[in-house]
Symmetry: C2
């Protein structure tokens, strides 16, 4: 049974190839993500992982871990707090913070941290999930 406070986490390093693959899917060819030379001249100083790519780990967690298979994604809000760099480990965590049993709606805190344990993305996810009593 799903309970308030329950969490699930997943970690991943995004490679340069991952950024190029995501660019093809999202049509986001912004050179700050893809071009090391260009990125060097930006405030970040190097290539940055697309925020929406890192955030997609929330989709993975919700759809396969918590609540898991059968989850219907209703909403997600995201704040991109700090850049995530290529090949830097990112850990995404979701935590159940509210359950509306009558509507089968679960709200989860969603957060990504970098390998320095700094919060890089923070937000909330809302999903529909049929709970057994």
């Amino acid at each position: 049974m799903i309970q308030i406070g329950q969490t699930a986490s997943i970690s991943k390093k995004f490679s340069n190839q991952d950024l190029h693959d995501f660019a093809k899917l999202s049509l986001d060819f912004n050179p700050v993500h893809l071009d090391a030379e260009f990125a060097k001249e930006t405030i970040f100083g190097k290539q940055v992982v697309h925020g929406m790519l890192a955030s997609s780990l929330f989709s993975g967690l919700l759809g396969t871990h918590l609540p898991g298979e059968g989850t219907i994604y209703l909403g997600q809000d995201l704040k991109f707090k700090k850049p995530i760099f290529v090949d830097q480990e990112v850990t995404a965590t979701v935590e159940v913070i509210n359950i509306r049993k009558d509507k089968s709606i679960i709200t989860l805190k969603a957060e990504c941290r970098n390998d320095q344990d700094e919060v890089v993305i923070i937000g909330q996810a809302v999903v529909k999930y049929e709970m057994s009593a």
Copy 2:
């Protein structure tokens, strides 16, 4: 110069291969997206495009069209209103709704519509973008 009311749009059909590619990136192997047989038994009746994959078109629009190169993505909220199906054309649109020149912050309405002109995703994007006077 960027002005309130300005819009940019982009259309794309997500193929079955795109969904598998996105699953590898996001670790979202939820069979509702990837397995036609499984999806047939769900309320959707067929494979559904990952909401975060379709939403990634906003990243593409912001980073390459409006405001364009140099955009720093600060936040995005998303409501997934209706399913998007494989090979169905989706049109993502962003529209400038607020400009804070003093902080170089732009807020945009972000919306995806399907080929029936139904809103399937709606939300808001917030970006930082250095504007020339």
